[in-house]
């Protein structure tokens, strides 16, 4: 049993419906769907499984309704948790894993996602002078 399989078993207790998908993202990533309310539990399950969880990045994407958050992890191989947030809101991972802090702030900058429980959700990259909508939010794309 590889490390990934162990992890998937650990995750299965938290995310019973999730089916690991190895094709939707190219580059050797295993993709798992995860509802926002189970995100923190999933991370807890991963940390408790004994391996070191390296959070590589959080990619935020505008989706048809709300936003899509991709948590790119590295635990001996690539693992991406795919979180669909219908209301542009997500639970913050920062109290659990400090590494998420700036990635969440950046996603807040770029797409205006509110991370509930983030200690300091100030703009990270955008200047104080910036007054427009979040630059990567959907309406921005059409006028380009």
């Amino acid at each position: 049993m590889t490390v990934t399989d162990t992890l998937l078993t650990a995750l299965a207790t938290v995310l019973p419906e999730a089916v690991p998908d190895r094709d939707s993202i190219a580059g050797g990533e295993t993709v798992l769907d995860c509802p926002p309310e189970h995100l923190l539990d999933a991370f807890r399950a991963l940390t408790e499984s004994g391996s070191t969880v390296h959070l590589s990045a959080i990619t935020a994407l505008p989706a048809d309704s709300g936003t899509l958050l991709l948590y790119h992890l590295w635990i001996d191989s690539g693992l991406t948790l795919c979180v669909h947030c219908p209301r542009n809101e997500a639970p913050s991972l920062t109290p659990l894993l400090p590494a998420a802090s700036w990635y969440e702030r950046e996603a807040h900058d770029m797409l205006g996602i509110r991370f509930i429980g983030h200690p300091n959700l100030e703009p990270l990259l955008l200047a104080a002078e910036w007054s427009g909508p979040p630059p990567l939010a959907r309406q921005e794309k059409t006028d380009a």
Binding site: L125, L126, A127, P135
Partner: protein, 139 residues
């Protein structure tokens, strides 16, 4: 007579201050490279100073971003007269590939009066030296 002496001194002792107002690092390291053994601009009397109060020439690299406009202006104001501004690299000259970004205001010229443009992406140390020498000729 005094005028001529002063002008000579200014030509021979330009102290530079470097500010990256939003560039990619390429021109910055080429500027630093100009200080190192192969190019050694100290032979022209050029010193890289730490404080804007000591500098004569402000070298800007990169386009001016929304956030660095105010620091850039503050630094420029702190430099005592007479002073010159050099826009180093294509980005500082015109904004280059970043020109139409939402967070970029464009080249340095839109914020400060520029005396010398050095194109190149990034500009080579030879270009930097030649541009500084040209600027000194005109002082």
């Amino acid at each position: 007579m005094i005028d001529r002496i002063v002008r000579w001194a200014r030509k021979k002792s330009p102290w530079i201050l470097h500010y990256n107002s939003g560039g990619c690092n390429g021109c910055d390291i080429e500027l630093l490279d100009a200080l190192t053994p192969r190019y050694d601009v100290e032979r022209l009397g050029i010193l890289k100073e730490a404080s804007p109060r000591h500098a004569d020439i402000l070298i800007c690299t990169g386009p001016v971003t929304l956030k660095s406009r105010i620091p850039l202006l503050r630094i420029y104001e702190q430099i005592p007269e007479p002073k010159w501004v050099v826009a180093l690299g294509s980005c500082a000259c015109s904004g280059s590939v970043f020109a139409d970004s939402y967070h970029v205001l464009g080249g340095v010229e839109q914020t400060l009066p520029v005396s010398m443009y050095v194109p190149g992406c990034p500009c080579r140390p030879e270009a930097i030296i030649s541009a500084l020498a040209d600027l000194l000729e005109r002082i």
